[in-house]
């Protein structure tokens, strides 16, 4: 469970988030929506421990993250969270296999186990045949599916997806959203940032942000 308590974030004089209080239950598919600059990506980054709040705290399974060491936060990013971004953030010079192998190496998974895990992850996104291709030669949709596969390699409980369909056409967007839905069905907690309201139909909960504050929080819309 993720508990957000009085969370604020300032960028200089600009207040990006203001005293957010939320609870996201395990297994929820939550969509964060709002206009550009509303603070939805900032909130996702804070949950994912890739940024630090100005005030407030985020509790992951009841454990405060504010006072966590960098090492503990790294462990959370590696094992607890899976990240999917609009820009994919694959290493373009690496093969698909290597891109997926990195989080496993970081986790310390033995080499002989990695291949099976990588193949399973690619199977789950329909990319098993692209194992040896360089990431640079993949299409946008394929890259995002590989990014999702990478997010799954360490079997995280929570998938954080920031505009996962932002760079995709509608066909590929559907594929990606279906994948996220499947993951949700398998028990993963999904938090997805999107500005496209049609994508919210995949989510069981929609939280709208505006000017850094939660203005709407609807379950089972």
């Amino acid at each position: 469970m993720i508990e957000i308590e009085d969370l604020s974030k300032n960028f200089g004089a600009f207040r990006a988030l203001s005293e957010i209080n939320l609870k996201i239950e395990k297994g929820e598919f939550t969509a964060l929506v709002g206009d550009s600059g509303s603070g939805k990506s900032t909130l996702l980054n804070l949950i994912g421990q890739i940024d630090e709040p100005t005030e407030g705290d985020i509790l992951i399974d009841g454990v405060s993250t504010v006072k966590m060491s960098e090492k503990e936060k790294s462990k959370l990013r590696n094992g607890k969270f899976g990240f999917v971004f609009q820009a994919f953030y694959l290493e373009s010079g690496y093969s698909v296999y290597k891109n997926l192998e990195i989080p496993l190496i970081i986790k310390g998974v033995p080499k002989k186990e990695r291949t099976d895990i990588i193949k399973n992850a690619l199977n789950s996104v329909g990319m098993e045949t692209k194992l040896r291709l360089t990431a640079a030669v993949l299409s946008g949709g394929e890259k995002q599916r590989v990014a999702i596969a990478r997010a799954l390699t360490c079997d995280p409980e929570i998938i954080l997806a920031d505009e996962p369909c932002g760079n995709l056409d509608s066909k590929n967007s559907k594929i990606v959203l279906d994948l996220l839905r499947d993951l949700h069905k398998k028990g993963k907690t999904i938090i997805m940032v999107t500005h496209n309201l049609t994508h919210t139909k995949y989510a069981g909960r929609v939280i709208r942000l505006s000017d850094g504050a939660v203005v709407n929080d609807i379950k089972n819309p």
């Binding site: 980054n45 890739i50 940024d51 960098e70 090492k71 790294s74 462990k75 959370l76 990013r77 590696n78 094992g79 990240f83 971004f85 609009q86 820009a87 953030y89 290493e91 010079g93 690496y94 290597k98 192998e101 990195i102 989080p103 190496i105 970081i106 986790k107 310390g108 080499k111 990478r150 360490c154």
Partner: protein, 382 residues
């Protein structure tokens, strides 16, 4: 953690090599130059370390010359016979190695005197092996011995410097005939610089036979050298001067080699900076995926360390190849036939200096890696 670093290095190796291959090659060459110059400098005075600590068997010579009043011979020539009443020799800095002094006495047209005594030492241990070049044939009266005896004179101050005391046994070795004669260093008739005489030398004036002197009880050369200088053996055209020059050059080259080693590690340092510049996005990705700072720093640092070891290995091999050229250069510069041994410490020193610099550098690099923010790379890539 090490297995994580090595696995990541395996994945990242290609990218890094692409970015920094040129720098690696330069580093290897510079490092080999460092080892080479260092080896050369250490070998510039052959066996210098041993020389300093134990006394050695390498060149050290000084001139022996009739005293300043030209009292090489005192006496008169009678019926072709020279009578020398007070033969003694002191030292002069004005003469040079192998200079010859001829004197003619009385009305006789016969040249009775020989050449100046010129010692050339080889000192396998302490004062072992003063080489006597071109001995002089003395008349019977010179030393009360039959012809064929030689006198070798040591001024008392020099003898004192060399740690030779009256009563010490000195051994003369003939380099050509391999026989030895012992003599006693003694003081005669109050003449302070005196004499050891020995029999059956085959040398005659003008012959170029080398003799070696051994002393039972003498000081180490490192102590003797400044003392000799203090009594007037200034650097000049003799072996002293050559050695002085070599020692100066040696220190210069050691400083130079240290600078070259430093330059090599500056290049390695730059490789780290280049990595940080070109790969900071990837570093941020690694951190996003949960890599700890120490793992990321270790990844690139292991690369630089491997590079260093590779460059070092190449440098060692190159050093042995370049040794031949150094020897030629040394011969051309100093006119000696050098045999340069690459010593273990000339190889090990640059390695440890490098390792120390890298260790310090690692701390700084880790700090920089820790400063790479994930969000910054996300903005860059967008």
């Amino acid at each position: 953690m090490i297995s994580k670093i090595l696995d990541l290095a395996g994945a990242e190796f290609k990218s890094i090599v692409k970015q920094s291959l040129l720098f690696l090659v330069i580093c290897g060459l510079v490092l080999s130059a460092a080892i080479g110059v260092f080896s050369f400098s250490v070998n510039l005075v052959p066996n210098y370390a041993t020389f300093l600590n134990q006394g050695v068997d390498n060149g050290f010579d000084f001139n022996v010359y009739p005293d300043d009043e030209k009292m090489f011979f005192k006496g008169s020539a009678v019926a072709g016979q020279s009578y020398v009443t007070a033969p003694f020799i002191t030292y002069s800095t004005t003469l040079h190695y192998r200079d010859a002094i001829y004197e003619t006495y009385g009305a006789s047209t016969e040249i009775l005197s020989g050449r100046a005594y010129i010692f050339k030492e080889t000192l396998p241990r302490v004062f072992q092996g003063v080489r006597v070049v071109k001995g002089t044939l003395w008349s019977t009266e010179d030393n009360g011995k039959p012809d064929g005896y030689f006198n070798i004179f040591l001024r008392d101050t020099v003898a004192e410097c060399l740690g030779i005391r009256v009563g010490d046994t000195l051994t003369i070795w003939s380099g050509s005939t391999q026989y030895a004669v012992k003599g006693i260093y003694e003081s005669r008739e109050g003449i302070p610089a005196f004499v050891m005489s020995y029999q059956a030398c085959v040398s005659r004036a003008g012959n170029d036979i080398w003799y070696y002197l051994e002393a039972d009880n003498a000081e180490k050369m490192i102590n003797v050298y400044p003392k000799l200088r203090s009594i007037g053996f200034e650097l000049g055209g003799t072996m002293f001067a050559e050695m002085g020059l070599m020692i100066s050059a040696r220190y210069l080259l050691i400083v130079l080699s240290a600078m070259v080693v430093f330059a090599a590690f500056m290049i390695l340092n730059n490789i780290l900076s280049i990595i940080l510049y070109y790969r900071h996005q990837f570093i941020a990705k690694l951190k996003l995926l949960g890599a700890e700072t120490s793992v990321v720093a270790g990844l690139y640092f292991s690369f630089v360390t491997i590079s260093f070891v590779l460059a070092y290995t190449i440098a060692v091999v190159l050093s042995f190849v370049m040794k031949l050229y150094y020897e030629n250069i040394a011969s051309a510069l100093f006119g000696f036939n050098f045999v340069i041994d690459i010593k273990w410490y000339t190889l090990v020193c640059p390695f440890f200096i490098g390792a120390a610099i890298l260790a310090v550098r690692f701390i700084r690099f880790k700090k920089k890696v820790s400063g790479v923010r994930i969000l910054d790379f996300m903005r860059d890539e967008q």
